[in-house]
Symmetry: C2
Subunit: 335 residues, 2 copies
């Protein structure tokens, strides 16, 4: 099934079930109002949502309405955890080179993962607001899963059983702030502002045969200002599958329902697939010609991130965001 | 007022109001069931809780009951954010020396802060469970505040106005895992397991004159296996006050209601105050005699962390935890 969260001026929004083709939706009222509620009590609530979803797909629901991605908050507008792995080694290799940093010794053996902020996520079509272009505004297109409860010490297989939903993420990064923060050793903080998520979260069965070995074997498209800059394969080069990433996080603590675990920027060794973040493009330019020419994003730029299934249909709906100056936001009073 | 969250087998527990002397409590039913709810709607709900608190302190509530810290979950059993600053420079100096790491260039000018996991907190008297003593089990006694909404770009003064509640925290650390994680550059993850919080969260006015300039000017006591090992002054040496720490976090993103922001381990340059984490004691031993002699915690050890007000009464109640092997936890089925 496919789930989304509609804006209703509350902090957690209203849960809706969305049809497979993303054309129709129906409120989940009477079952659950918020997605976190469903994750907290998955065994009891998800079969009820599943039934609603079947009826919606069969066109049997009288109160169904046209699905509007612009009405969406992030599926979880705020979460108890957001941790992002860096599972595509090509991304790590390129960005380490670009920063002049050495690759960690455990590179390739042990997932590299950071704890992100999860109190203020962005809906798929909400503008991303930044104080200054000088911060090096960059998108990062990734996959993520939302988990149920996974106990401390779970194996990768057990952890994989804890996957409830999959989403796309745009993990905004402020490149100019990263080197100083990483040098301090305590990880990203200011350099990782609010993350955006796809309109729709889907259960793994919606991915069909493309959900394989804890990976999503489809390609992720990134369009920057309307121009396709990336069509990266998400399956084959994901060095750690989602069960491994979750188990890494659960090694010393329980991972509780509603935790979001990311894949890192989807990246392929074959550069002809393009890129899922500008930093990679710049690293490639530097490697090829000595100079990173492509500039980071400017106010007014747009980024669209989408993944299509083997049937050619959009799986999660598109993340489609504009980059906006923070002071503009203040003027229109929407911050 | 003083607030706590009682276990009721739900994930978020039941909100109770606690008397100033921590002897009596009363359910907040009819006003709010969960603390996050209050933080989401502070202006409307907190005055109602305040009234209940006044009646409780006056002994006027017929359904008041004896307050039992052992019934407490963390005031927020799970939160949308937990970020910990390192505001006591002495702690940073000692631990950097002990790790053989250089102090960041921005040391003393810019807060050092990490994003922590917030999906699974421990109540004040809940055992802390670890897979192995070899991980270097250490307590870290700190203060923290719980915020309301603080917009991106808020000044330290504006951010300080966003402080709603103060708590004590025991930010468990696995010292053996830290060097490798910090070397990877992405910050703490496995090395910072579930954090515990004091039974009670208090509004700043409960601190009286001790709440000054965004700091808590009281001393924090740590008792390890019944022996006092620290009585550290929390006020004078906090290099960044809570408004500065929150503003640091809010530089590039909105900080939303229910975010918990920590002070770092309370630490004094005058070593006669003792220590708020074993790593400091070991660093001092290494500096003084070349060898760190004090071992980290063992299964069966206990740690008690408490802060008394100028009236001699416990402000937050005590964090009082036992260190327990994970497999024991599995046997008694309470994980």
């Amino acid at each position: 099934m496919k789930l989304a969260t509609y804006h209703d001026r509350s902090r957690d929004g209203q849960l809706v079930v969305v049809s497979r083709d993303l054309s129709q939706a129906h409120y989940a009222n009477g079952i659950a109002t918020r997605l976190q509620q469903v994750l907290d009590d998955w065994g009891f609530l998800s079969p009820q949502l599943e039934e609603l979803s079947i009826s919606l797909n069969q066109g049997k629901l009288r109160h169904a309405f046209n699905f509007e991605p612009k009405q969406c908050m992030a599926p979880l507008p705020r979460a108890y955890q957001w941790a992002d792995g860096s599972a595509y080694l090509n991304h790590m290799e390129l960005l380490s080179k670009a920063r002049g940093a050495e690759l960690p010794e455990s590179y390739g053996l042990d997932p590299l993962m950071y704890q992100g902020g999860s109190d203020d996520f962005l809906g798929a079509c909400e503008p991303a607001r930044f104080a200054s272009e000088a911060m090096g505004i960059d998108f990062e297109a990734k996959l993520a899963v939302i988990t149920g409860d996974v106990p401390m010490g779970a194996s990768p297989d057990q952890a994989l059983d804890g996957v409830r939903l999959a989403v796309l993420a745009n993990d905004w990064s402020l490149r100019t702030l990263i080197p100083a923060e990483l040098a301090k050793g305590f990880g990203f903080l200011q350099s990782k502002p609010a993350t955006a998520f796809s309109p729709v979260a889907v259960t793994p069965d919606e991915l069909g045969a493309a959900w394989r070995g804890g990976r999503v074997d489809l390609s992720l498209q990134s369009m920057w200002n309307g121009r396709k800059v990336g069509q990266c394969e998400a399956g084959p080069e994901m060095a750690f599958h989602f069960g491994q990433l979750i188990a890494h996080l659960a090694r010393t603590r329980n991972v509780r329902a509603g935790s979001i675990v990311g894949s890192g920027s989807v990246s392929n060794k074959d550069w002809s697939h393009g890129y899922s973040c500008i930093a990679e493009k710049r690293a490639i330019e530097a490697i090829e010609g000595g100079v990173a020419k492509t500039e980071y994003m400017k106010f007014g730029d747009s980024i669209r991130i989408e993944m299509k299934g083997r049937d050619g249909l959009s799986v999660f709906g598109a993340i489609d965001q504009d980059v906006v100056a923070l002071h503009e936001a203040t003027v229109d009073g929407t911050v």
